[in-house]
Structure formats: structure tokens, C-alpha cells
Subunit: 460 residues, 2 copies
């Protein structure tokens, strides 16, 4: 029996089991649900044991538990692959906006509705079917690569203990690639793979001027105004081409290849509709020479997230204010290092603060590293072949503008990331009436089955 | 007997009467003191009647009363002069910081301490002595010009009914010049006269971007950020020379004359000390080609008084915010019209707002017109001669960076302003332990006595 046939045969059992798991309200952000998150981990562990995984463990963290399962390849020289997903889910409020109970999953019109169907239990679960389907089709007793499933329980509450967990189990998690199944495809008709996520670093900038607010009749026009200095600094953060002016900012950026740009351009992107989701009279704007998709996925940015100073209440107050404040964030792309950008920003502020104004930069934490796997890297190329076999059509590429714990996986496990996912942007993750397309979930299982074959060749 | 002799003789009577008036707590900003403000007006009216003023009236307003007194010149063809001052005073809080009761005036070390001694009862009062001293010295039964004393009761609470009062009594207040005695001299050793005050207009600017705050991971770098647009706009409000960039902004400015600049330069101005009053690490900054005194007195400015938008609370929030806000004020100088500048600002904002951002400008009211009398104008030149006769030394010139109701006097009465005052910047007006230098108060009376002679020649 081939992979597709096995999956078709197993469909009802697969969905019944998934529904059982989805019924456990594993909301990690709600302390009252901690017991349910634990129950979710234990349910998954029991299920995997039932499916024949040789090693299944519940891993404790300083917070909520993760599940680890390993199915070694028969060949000890075969590559190892970590598959990452998470079993915790978002809160469900406002409950009254759900058409059906978020924790009583139902199939309707080819979709499975319920919290976690797309983000991320459904996508974790297709791997369990994929492994079995692959073995059934090949007649082997083990997958062609060692599969190490790592299912986190705190992703929706900030993955606060995840890096620690990875470090604690680094040896057990040693691998040649990490498959992430927690993203989306372009659309049901346009299967695609994500190749990278932007990183992030934040900064708070304070400019100090006079010791107190000054009367602008007595001082205005003759002493520096920190709000003017702030406006000048922030205006100078971009040049006329929309490029960030921090010296060295682009030095480490891995440029988009012609191939990736060409593939992005083939995505059926309706910019006008996209803009409408953001605001009525909005225009696209950004770094010259790049499309909107390139700008949000593959180009770094400097964004002022907040700014304040002086009199902000009702009425007028004719002062030269004592200080001005801004909160900034930088989205970083492949090659960039948050800590390096932080230093660039500090240096730039120091060099550009006018006389009589004192600048203070606060950096909250080390930031989030960007992650990226080139289209032609072995893992991505292999996963693309697996996806194309499952979907029977060309697979395109996307990236994501923000990121979660993915960079930690790449950094701590020192392995390339491969994003294989079948969620859609309209799955309403984090919102009422979350769903997944049942057909895509099964296609995900099929792609996952082919994936081990492809990776066993590619990573060897 | 000459003027100085008369004043010396009258000294104790003059101070005793002034103390009586100062003891009335005419705090116009405190509704509970409204009765005291009225009592202050009535006390002054009674005193002026006692001093022989032919016409004395208490003028009602929509708020607190003013006092009007007129002493016609014997010659019906003689010029008329309005003398402006106010009989209301600032609040006295914090009371515990006063060394003596603010409403029990005391003389100590050549100074008279108490609320209103300098601002402005003392300075109104020297005119009552000046008029008598002048007549005593000349032996005439009337001053050489028609003196019209107008003593407002709401100056310290915004002069809200003052323009209305001027318009209602425009005929009675018809005059050839307005003498204002509510400012300061450079110092006890450097007598000076103010020749102008800056005007003011304010504006609030809002820039609208997305309909809601957007996730900067999904949109950052590809849609306009209103905070960036605000920073760019406000940074572009000044050029590299520190000049305001609104087209036409300087067109109507009456330039400083070489003489005025030269006289400003002779004032013993200690810029370092002045900067220290504003802040420790402050540097002088402003329009290139002008000194600090020129910048604060005689050059127009654009000042951002407040700015806000996006996330301003603790922690980070990676958003492209929906809007940005700023409050601005423009200090205006001789020749400029607030309404014209408002239109210039609106036009400039419209021309410089980037695509995808919608700007909204709110102008709160018509602004304050600047006022100015050239050094060589007849009234100023005459007053300078009077001051020099009284002080026996050269009189220099200043201007003021802000303004009160003075422009209304010039505009509504259509007469040039002449500033004759003997207050000092260290008189602590509006603060605890307000004082006036007794010697300067008497010099003021002497200058006032000479003033009518000088003006009767100059304005004829």
C-alpha cells in the first residue's frame, strides 16, 4: 500500500484521536489550566507509545512539560531530525464568538474546528501519521532517519523555559536538521514553505535637555529642545530610500537571491487587499527597490513603536520640555546579529546627539536572532521535493516577518531549520473559530512521510 | 522744589499708602479672593480721588473690576497717554516659603517685601507719585499731557475680559501712546527699557496611519509609520541654520536694526550663568547669526512643546502605531501675524505629509500678536530721555520673549507702546518673598514725572 492509500485508510482513526487530544484545554497562558497542559502532554505521550514509538518521555521544565519521542532509524549512520511543534494552545476568549465549543472539535465542510486544530496540535499530529504511513509504504520497521519529536508546552506563553530545555537535553536532541511544523502555507491552492523568520531587537532612547521644563517665552529658540533633537534623530534613522542609516546595519545581511525574489514574485499577492486589512487610506511604503513581500519577510527594519515627551495633556503649554523618549524595535534578517545591531544603535545615537542634549539608551535583553535556510540548502530542497510529491504541484517559498523560539532551535542545536507546515493564514489561530483544512492536514501527513526518505538522502 | 526733592519729601507717605494697598490680598486667580480684588480697586479709586485726580471710576468687567482715572492736561491740544498696570496679584502659595507675611509688607535692607510690590501694585503706584511730583516741580495744576490711568484686575488670571473692556471704552481711552509699567529693567545698575514682546500661536498636529496599531512583524517596513512621519515633519521644521522652514515665515519680520543689536550687545549678559539656570549640561543653540538675547527677544521660533504616539507604557510593544501627535507653538516677533503663521503651518503640513498618512491640524484660537516700538520712535525716545534724567546714566534696551495683554492695548487703542518699568528679574514675582527695590520705585516715580514733559513734546 502506498503512503496516500495508507493515510486515506487511516483518516477516521487519525481524526478521532486528534479530536480526543484537542478536547484537552491546554491553555498555557492560564495558570488554572496548568493541569490540562500536563494532561495534554501525558495524553500525547500515551498515544505515541501506542503508535509504537520506542522512546517516549515527558520532559519537565521550570514551567509546563514538553513531550519527547524518538524513533531511531535502523541504520545507525542515518541522519537524525528533530521535529518541533507545541501542544499548548492560545486562550479562547471571547467564548461567545465561537460557533462551536473550542474544546469540542467538530468537522464541518471539510474543516476541523477547535482550538489547536491549526496551531499547533493538528500540525504536530500529522507527523505521527506520516511516520507510520512511510513505514507502511516501505515495509520497514523504522523510519529512514532517526525522528526526534519535541513538542513544547509553553509556546503560547513565550517559551520561557524552552532555551533551558534545549540546553539541558542538547545531547539527546543532537540532529542534522530541525523540521518546524508551526507556520503556514500561502494558500490551499498554493502550497509553500517558509525559509526564514525575522529576528528582533528593541531599544529605548531618552534624550535629556534642561533640568526642568522651561518657559518657551524665556528660553525658546536659544536652548536645545529634546523633542526637536528626538525628531531629528528618528528622522535620520532612515534615508530617502527608506534604508536604515545605522553604519554597518546591512553589512551582515544575506541578500535575497534572484531565485528567491523570482519565487516570491510568483505568489499571487494582492497588495491592495493586504493594505486594506491595515487601514483605509494606507499606501505601501518602505525600502526602495523591494516589493512589499520582500520588505516584510526579507529586509531588516527600524521601527519607532512609541514616542513621548513634553506636554501631552489637554490644552497648550508653552514649554521647552526637559526630555524626550522613544521606544524602537529592529526587525532583523538572515545574517544579522541582534547584539551587534544594539551596539550599532548605541554608537549611532552617541554620534548623532546634538550638543547640550544627553542621550541614554536602554536595551531590554539580548533580542531574538533571525533564522533562515536557503532554498537550495539540502534540507529545504529535500522538504520541497516531499511537499511537491504530496501536493502534486510546484511548491513556492515565503518567509515570516516575526518569530518565536525557532532561532533557539537553530542556535542551540546547531542545525538548519526546515519549515514544513500546512496551516493557512485564514485559520484564525489565536482567534475564535480556529480551524484547519482537513484535506491539508492529510497532505501534511503525506509530505511528512516522504520527508524522511528525502532527508535521508539529502543529509547523508 | 524739584521732582527729586518732592519725591524724597513724600517718601514715607508714599510707602505708607502703598503698604496699605499691598495689604489687600487681591489674588485674581482665587475665586474666594474676588471680594479682595474688588476692595483693592475701591481702595485705589479712593486714593486717587484723594490725590486730586479729576476723574476716577471703577470699571466693571465680566469678571473683576478695573480702575480708570484721568487727569486732563490744561491744554486741550496736548497729547493723551494711557498708563497701563494691574492691581491684582499672583497667589502666594507655598506660604511657608515666605520669610514674612505676603500681605503684611515690610521694608528691610532697602527693599519692600510683599506680594504685588513689584508685580504690579508698586509700579502702578509710582505713577501716582510721579504725576504729583511733576506738577509740584512745574507749579502747574495739571500734567502737560492728559494722563489716563488704566489699572486692570485680571492680569494674573489671563486678562480674559480685558480686550472687551478696551473695546467698550475705546473712546474714553483714545490716546497717542500707551505707557506700560509691568515689566523689568536689566538690573539695578543697568537701567533699561523693553521695546517689544514676542507673540504666540499654537497648533496641534495629528498624523493618522493604519486604522489600528499593527503588528510590526507582519507590517513593519512595508507601511508608513506615523511616528516616522511625525519625526520627519518636525525635524524638517528647522533647517541646518536653525531657521524655521515654513515658507513665508520670515517675510513680515521687522529685522533688528544695527543700533538695537549694538545696544543689546552692551548689556552685561553672562550666558554661562543664564544657561545654568536652565540646566547643567545645556548648550546655547538656535538660529545661526544671532546671539542668545537676540534669539529669545527678537527672533521668531517654532517649538515642539509635546509629542506622543504608539506605546508609551512599560516594556516593549512591537507595533506600527495608528497615529502620532504633537503640540507646537510659534513665538512671533514684530511684524508677524499669528493668523498668517497658522495658515503657513497648515499649508506646510499639507505639502509635507507623506502618502498614506493623513494629517490633521487644530489651531486653538487666534494667538497673541507680537508688540514692538522701535528705539527711535517718538514715544520710546522720549521715555528714554525721562529714564536717563531720573537715573543719571545711559538707558539700554531689552525685549521680552513672551507677552501678556500688551498687544491688545496697541491694537485696540491703535497707539504705540512705551515700556517704563523698574522691576528687576530677581524680584521673585510669582514666587515667595516678592520684593521691589525701594530706591528703584522712587526712581520710577521720578522718571514718570519727567515722562509727561518729554512726551508732551515728542507726541505733539
Amino acid at each position: 500500500m502506498d503512503v496516500a492509500g495508507y493515510i486515506e485508510d487511516d483518516r477516521e482513526r487519525f481524526l478521532a484521536a486528534l479530536k480526543e487530544w484537542l478536547a484537552i484545554p491546554s491553555v498555557s497562558g492560564d495558570p488554572a489550566r496548568a493541569g490540562d497542559v500536563r494532561r495534554s502532554a501525558e495524553w500525547l505521550a500515551a498515544y505515541l507509545r501506542g503508535q509504537g514509538w520506542p522512546t517516549v518521555e515527558v520532559w519537565e521544565t521550570g514551567g509546563l512539560p514538553a513531550v519527547f519521542a524518538e524513533w531511531p532509524a535502523a541504520d545507525p549512520a542515518a541522519p537524525s531530525v528533530v521535529v518541533y511543534g507545541h501542544h499548548d494552545v492560545q486562550p479562547v476568549e471571547p467564548l461567545e464568538e465561537w460557533d462551536t465549543d473550542p474544546f469540542e472539535p467538530v468537522e464541518r465542510d471539510g474543516r476541523l474546528y477547535g482550538r489547536g486544530t491549526s496551531d499547533d496540535k493538528g500540525q504536530v499530529f500529522f507527523h505521527t501519521l506520516g511516520v507510520r504511513a512511510g513505514m507502511a509504504a516501505s515495509g520497514a520497521a523504522a523510519p529512514p532517519v532517526t525522528v526526534k519529536l519535541l513538542v513544547e508546552g509553553e509556546e503560547e506563553s513565550g517559551s520561557v523555559h524552552f532555551a533551558e530545555l534545549l540546553r539541558a537535553h542538547r545531547d539527546r536532541l543532537a540532529c542534522d536538521a530541525v523540521v518546524i511544523s508551526d507556520t503556514t502555507m500561502w494558500s490551499a491552492d498554493v502550497p509553500s514553505m517558509c525559509t526564514g523568520m525575522r529576528g528582533l531587537t528593541e531599544a529605548e532612547l531618552t534624550l535629556h535637555g534642561p533640568d526642568t521644563d522651561l518657559h518657551s517665552g524665556s528660553f525658546g529658540g536659544a536652548v536645545p529642545n529634546p523633542l526637536h533633537a528626538m525628531a531629528a534623530l528618528l528622522a535620520a534613522l532612515h534615508d530617502e530610500q527608506g534604508r536604515v542609516t545605522l553604519p554597518g546595519f546591512y553589512d551582515d545581511v544575506i541578500p535575497l537571491t534572484g531565485e528567491e525574489r523570482e519565487l516570491f514574485a510568483r505568489l499571487p499577492f494582492d497588495e491592495a487587499s493586504w493594505l486594506e486589512t491595515a487601514g483605509n487610506s494606507l499606501a505601501a511604503a518602505g525600502e526602495a527597490g523591494y516589493t512589499t513581500l520582500e520588505r516584510i519577510w526579507a529586509r531588516p527594519t527600524a521601527e519607532v513603536n512609541g514616542m513621548w515627551g513634553g506636554h501631552t495633556g489637554p490644552g497648550g503649554k508653552t514649554i521647552v520640555p526637559r526630555s524626550a523618549h522613544a521606544k524602537l524595535s529592529f526587525r532583523l534578517v538572515a545574517g544579522q546579529d541582534p547584539v551587534k545591531v544594539q551596539a550599532q544603535f548605541e554608537k549611532w545615537v552617541e554620534a548623532n546627539t546634538p550638543p547640550g542634549v544627553r542621550a541614554q539608551v536602554t536595551i531590554p535583553g539580548g533580542g531574538v536572532r533571525p533564522c533562515f535556510s536557503p532554498i537550495d540548502s539540502p534540507g529545504v530542497a529535500a522538504a520541497r521535493r516531499a511537499m511537491e510529491r504530496a501536493f502534486g504541484t510546484e511548491v513556492l517559498f515565503t518567509r515570516e516577518g516575526g518569530s518565536g523560539p525557532e532561532a533557539d532551535l537553530a542556535d542551540i542545536l546547531d542545525a538548519p531549520l526546515v519549515f514544513v507546515a500546512v496551516g493557512l493564514n485564514d485559520d484564525r489561530i489565536h482567534a475564535p473559530n480556529e480551524k484547519v483544512e482537513t484535506r491539508l492536514l492529510l497532505k501534511g501527513a503525506e509530505a511528512a512521510a516522504y520527508l524522511w526518505d528525502e532527508l535521508s538522502e539529502a543529509l547523508r
